[in-house]
C-alpha cells in the first residue's frame, strides 16, 4: 500500500486544530513553569491557564462558519464543534478560577492541576471536532485519563482517592464497550470515518436488520451514556462527584458531559440517522430513567455535592429528551442547555467551595443554614443558580428546558415532555431545600471561610451573568446553537 505523503500533508490544515494546539502548548508551558517557579502561591497559574483558554476560545471562535475539515477528514472545525469547544472552555475557565482557593484550603495546591484541566479540555475539544472514530476515541481518552487524575487529585483524601479509583475502573470498563462497538461498526462499514460510515450504512441493503451494525451502534451508545451519566450507566457519578475535589466535580459535571453529548450527537445524527428507529426508543427509555432516577434520588440527599451529582444525572436526562427528538429544536436545546448548565452548575459548585470547610467533614446542606443572613450576596447568587437549575424563568435553565421539551413535542413525544416537566417539578423540591437552609434556618455555627479571592469572584460574576442573561435575551446564543446544529 503506497502512501502519498505530499497528498497526505495537503489535507492537513493546522487551523482546524488550532484551539487544541494552543491549549496543549499552554498546558505544557504550565507544567514547565510550575517546575521552575518555586512559588507556594499558584494563583499565577490560574491567570496563565485562563490566558490559554481565552486564546483557544478566540482561535475557535474565529473559525465560525468556515467548516473546515482536515487530516483526511478525521477532524473538522465546524460550528457544531466550535459551539461545544466554547462550552468546554467556559467550563474549564470557570473550573480553573474556582480551583485556587479550594486547593489552597485542602493543602493539595499542586501546579499540575491546571495543565491537567487544560489537557482534559483539549481532549474534549478533540471529541467535538472528531469526525473519525479514532479521533473521537483519542479525545475521549485524553479527557478521561486527565479526569481520572483530577478526580483523585487530593491524594491524601480517602474520598478523593476512592473517587479517582471508581471513576478509573468504571471509565475504563465502559471504554471497553465503546471500543468493541467501534470495532463492530468498523467491521460492518469498513471505515472509521463518520461520514463514510453514514454513506456506507445508506448503501446497505437492509441496515435495519444488520445485527452487527445495530449491536455496534448500541455498544457505542452505552459508552457515551457512561460519559454523560445516563442511567443505568450513571452509577459512578454521585460517588465521583462527592469524592473529587469540589472544583473538579464542577468541571466534570459540565465539560465532559457536554463533550459526551458532542460526540454522541455527531455520531448518531451523522452516522446513524438511518437507524433512528433502532435507537430512539431505547434512548427514550434511557432519558426517562435518567431523569427520574436522578431526581428521585436527589430528593433524599443531605450531602450537597452528592445532591448536585444526582441533579446532574437528571439534567443529562433532560438533555436526552432533546436528543430523542433528534430535530433542530431539540439539538439546539441541547447545545444551549449544555452551555447554560456549565454556568449554573459550576456557579453552584463555586458557592459550595466557599461554604465548605477544610476537609469537607460532611459537606451537607445544613452547612448552608443562615447563609442568607451572613452573606446575602452569596446566598442570592446561589439562589440564582439553583433557580436556573430548577428551570425557573427568567434564567438560562428555563430557556434550555423550553427548547429541549419543545423539540420533543415537535416530534410528537408528548409523554416524554410531560414526564420531563413533572420531573422538573419534583426537582424543585431539592433545589428549594438548599434555599430553605440558606434563608429560613438559623445558622448553627460560624462560617469558616475567609475572604473571597479574586479568581472565584470573577467566576461567580461570570457564572451568574451566564445563568441570567441568556434567560432574558437568549436569541443570540440560540441562533448560534441553531447554526451549529445545522451542520451535523
Amino acid at each position: 500500500m503506497e502512501i502519498n505523503v505530499a497528498q497526505l500533508f495537503a489535507t492537513i490544515n493546522v487551523a482546524t486544530i488550532m484551539p487544541e494546539i494552543i491549549l496543549s502548548i499552554m498546558a505544557m508551558v504550565l507544567l514547565l513553569v510550575n517546575v521552575f517557579v518555586p512559588s507556594k502561591q499558584k494563583t499565577y497559574l490560574v491567570w496563565l491557564s485562563l490566558l490559554g483558554i481565552i486564546g483557544a476560545g478566540f482561535s475557535a471562535a474565529s473559525g465560525w462558519g468556515q467548516n473546515i475539515s482536515s487530516f483526511s477528514g478525521s477532524v473538522v472545525l465546524d460550528n457544531f464543534a466550535i459551539f461545544f469547544k466554547l462550552i468546554f472552555l467556559v467550563s474549564a475557565g470557570l473550573a480553573v478560577l474556582i480551583s485556587d482557593q479550594y486547593m489552597e484550603r485542602e493543602n493539595c495546591n499542586q501546579g499540575e492541576l491546571y495543565p491537567l484541566i487544560l489537557f482534559a479540555t483539549t481532549g474534549m475539544m478533540l471529541m467535538a471536532s472528531g469526525t473519525d472514530l479514532m479521533t473521537v476515541f483519542l479525545g475521549l481518552e485524553l479527557m478521561s485519563i486527565s479526569l481520572y487524575v483530577l478526580a483523585g487529585f487530593n491524594r491524601a483524601n480517602l474520598k478523593s482517592n476512592e473517587a479517582g479509583l471508581k471513576y478509573f475502573l468504571l471509565g475504563a470498563f465502559s471504554t471497553g464497550f465503546l471500543l468493541y462497538g467501534m470495532a463492530l461498526i468498523y467491521g460492518v462499514t469498513g471505515t472509521t470515518r463518520i461520514a463514510a460510515i453514514a454513506s456506507s450504512v445508506a448503501q446497505m441493503n437492509s441496515p435495519l436488520t444488520n445485527t452487527m451494525l445495530g449491536a455496534g451502534m448500541l455498544l457505542i451508545m452505552t459508552g457515551f451514556a457512561f460519559k454523560i451519566a445516563a442511567a443505568p450507566f450513571h452509577m459512578w457519578t454521585p460517588d465521583v462527584y462527592e469524592g473529587a475535589p469540589t472544583p473538579m466535580a464542577a468541571f466534570m459535571s459540565a465539560g465532559p458531559k457536554a463533550a459526551g453529548f458532542a460526540a454522541f450527537l455527531r455520531m448518531f445524527l451523522v452516522a446513524f440517522p438511518m437507524l433512528i428507529t433502532q435507537w430512539v426508543d431505547i434512548l427514550w427509555v434511557i432519558a426517562v430513567l435518567t431523569m427520574t432516577i436522578g431526581n428521585l434520588t436527589a430528593l433524599r440527599q443531605d450531602n450537597i455535592k452528592r445532591m448536585l451529582a444526582y441533579s446532574s444525572i437528571a439534567h443529562a436526562g433532560y438533555a436526552l429528551v432533546g436528543f430523542v427528538a433528534a430535530n433542530a429544536t431539540g439539538t439546539t436545546g441541547i447545545l444551549f442547555y449544555m452551555l447554560s448548565y456549565a454556568f449554573m452548575n459550576i456557579g453552584a459548585f463555586a458557592i459550595i467551595v466557599l461554604v465548605g470547610k477544610q476537609g469537607e467533614p460532611n459537606g451537607s446542606v445544613q452547612d448552608f443554614a443562615g447563609l442568607g443572613t451572613k452573606r446575602p450576596v452569596l446566598a442570592a447568587v446561589m439562589s440564582l443558580f439553583l433557580f436556573s437549575l430548577a428551570g425557573m424563568p427568567p434564567t438560562a435553565g428555563f430557556i434550555g428546558k423550553f427548547y429541549l421539551f419543545s423539540g420533543a413535542l415537535e416530534q410528537g413525544y408528548v409523554w416524554l415532555a410531560i414526564i420531563g416537566v413533572l420531573n422538573s417539578a419534583a426537582s424543585v423540591y431539592y433545589y428549594l431545600r438548599v434555599m430553605v437552609f440558606m434563608y429560613m434556618k438559623p445558622s448553627e455555627e460560624e462560617f469558616g471561610w475567609v475572604t473571597i479571592g479574586a479568581p472565584i469572584s470573577l467566576a461567580l460574576v461570570v457564572a451568574a451573568a451566564g445563568s441570567l442573561i441568556p434567560g432574558i435575551i437568549p436569541s443570540y446564543i440560540l441562533q448560534l446553537a441553531q447554526q451549529a446544529v445545522k451542520l451535523i
Binding site: 448500541l218 428521585l296 433524599r300
Partner: protein
Amino acid sequence: MFDNVWLIPLFPLIGFLINGLLGKKIKNETVIGGIASLAVFGSFIVSCKTFLGLISLPADKRVVDVKIFSWITAGNFNADIAFLIDPLSCLMILIVTGIGFLIHIYSIGYMHGEDGFYRFFAYLNLFIFSMLLLVLGNNLLLMFVGWEGVGLCSYLLIGYYFKKKSAGDAGKKAFVMNRVGDFGFLLGIFGLFWYLGQNHNVWTVQFTELSNSAHLLPTGGIVTFITLCFFLGATGKSAQIPLYTWLPDAMEGPTPVSALIHAATMVTAGVYMIGRMSYIFVRAPETMVVVAVVGACTALFAATIGTAQNDIKRVLAYSTVSQLGYMVLAMGVGAFTAGVFHLMTHAFFKACLFLGSGAVIHSMHGALHHVHSHDDAQDMRNMGGLKKYMPLTFLTFLIATIAIAGIPGFSGFFSKDEILWQAFANPLHGGLNTFLWAMGAVAAGLTAFYMFRLVFMTFFGETRIKAGAEKYLHESPMVIVIPLIVLAALSIVGGYVGIPKLIGDVFGGIPNYLEHYLHPVFANANAYMAAHAHTAHHSHALEWGLMGTSVVIALIGISIAAFLYLVNPTLPAKFTATFPGLHRAVYNKWYIDELYDFVIVNPCKTLGRFLWRGFDVVVIDGLVNGVAHVVMAFGGVVRYLQTGQVYSYAWTMAFGVVVIIGYYLFK
C-alpha cells in the same frame, strides 16, 4: 313634581353619616338625638309633600318613576337607583318616617346615658334610610338593597349591647335567618328576570315594567316557583313559619328598636313585598294557598306561645309574629288592601305597645337599680299594679291593647275584621276558607287573652316589685310620653280610613278611603283575580254574623284573662300544675329553637368539622402530601441501589448493556 323625592332617603343618610363619623366627638346627647330626629322629620315633611302631590294627581296617573342614576348595567341587565312613587310606597314612607320620627324622639329619653348613644342613633338613621330604599325602590334590586340593609341594621341594633353574648347571638340569628329569606328573594329575582327575558325578551327587574308584562306570565308552573322563592324571602323578613324564631330573640335590642324595626316597619317588609308584586303572586294559585296557610298557622301558633310568656317584650314579640301572620294571611287570600291596612294599624298600636312596655321597663329598671336588686325588669311577675305609678303609660297602653284585641271602634278592629272576612269570603281557596277563618278567629281570641293578661299582670293587681323599690317607680319624661300619646291616638283613629263597606253603609255611605287610595296598586292583581276566580256572593247577614263572632271571641279572651289574672290570680298556677307538659312546651316555645339546633345548626357544625379535619386535612391534603411522600419514599429506596461498591456499579452497567442489546436483538 317629585324631583326632590331623593331627599327622603338622603336626610337619614346624612344623619347617619354625621352621627356615625362624628357622633363620638359630639358627645352631647341632645345634639346627637336632635340631628337624628331632625333628619327623620325632614324626611317626613318631604314624604307628606310627596303624598299630597300624589293624591293631587288623577288616580290613574299615580305611579311615577323617579330615576336618580344608572346603578348596575351589565349586558341586558340594568338596575337604576330610582324611586317608585305610588300610593303604596307613599303610605309606607309616611308610616316609616312618621313612626320613625316618634320613636327617635322617644329614644332620646329612653337611651339617655347609654354607652354609645351616638351609635344607636346612627344605626337608627341608617335603618330609616334602608327602609325607605326598600319601600321606594323602583326595582327588585334596589328593594333588595333596602331589604338587606334593614336586616343589617336590625343585626346591628339587636346586638347593640354587644357585651351580652345573648345579644350577639340574637343579632347573628336574625341576620342569618333573614339571609335564608334573602336567598329566596334572590332566587325569585333570578327566576323572574330569566323567565321574562328568555321567553318574552323583557329583561327587567323594574316594578312598573314587570307589572306591564305580568300578563306574559303563565299561571302556576314557573311562576309558582318564583313566587315561592319570594315568599321564602317574606317569611324571613316578616318572621313567618318556619323562619320566625329570630324575632322573639331580637328583643335583646333596646326597646325603641323593637318598636320601630321589629313591630312597626321592617318586619312588615315581607308583607309589603308581596303587595308590591301582588300581580305576580295572584298568578300562582298554589303559592297563594301556601301564603294563606303559612300566615294563618303563624298567627295561631305564635299566639299560643304568647299566652305563656312572662317577659313583657317576649309577649309582644310573639304578638307581633302573630299579627304578621294575619297580614300574610290577608295577602294569601288576595285581600291586599286589608293586609296593608292591618300593616298600618298594627304599626300604630304595636309601636305604642312596645314603647309603653319600654317605658315600664325603663321605670322598673331604674327602681330595681336603686335598691340594687337583680330582679328581671322585664319579667311581668315582678310587676303588677303599675297603673298608679305610671297613669299615662297605662292609659296609652290600654288603648293600644284594646286596638289589638279587636274591640270595635278601635283601629285594630277594622283591619283585623276585614282580614277575617276576606279569609272567609275570598274566591281563591274554596273549602280552605273556613279553616283559615277559624284559625284567624281563634288567634284573635288568644290575642285578646294574652294582651289583656299582659295588661293585668303589669298594671293591675298588687305591686309585686321588690319591696322598697316601688317608691322609685315613676312616670316617664315627656319625650317618652308624648310619642305614646300620639301613637295611642293613631291607634284609635287610624282605623277610620278603611271602614268596611258594610259598616260604612250603615253610617251613610262613608267610603273606604284606603281601598280607593290603594286601588291603582292592586288593580292589576284584582283584575286578574276577578277574571280567573269565581267570587262567591255572601249575604250581609253572614258578614255581620262573622263580625259579631270575632268580637265575641275577643271578649271571651278578655274575660278569661280577667278571670285568671284579676279575679282569681292563683288559678294560672294551678292550671300549670295540672298540665305541666303542655305549659312547659308552650313556655319553651314548643321547643322550636331546640329543634332547629338539633336538626340544622349542630349537624352543620359537625359537617364542617368533618369536612375540615376529616376531608380537607386527611383526604385532600393527604392525597397531595401523599404524592409527595410516595415520591420521597421512592427516592429513599432508589438511593440504596447506589451501594458504593464498584462491582455493583459494573454489574449495573453490564446489565444495562445486556438489556439494551437484548432488546435490540429480540424486539
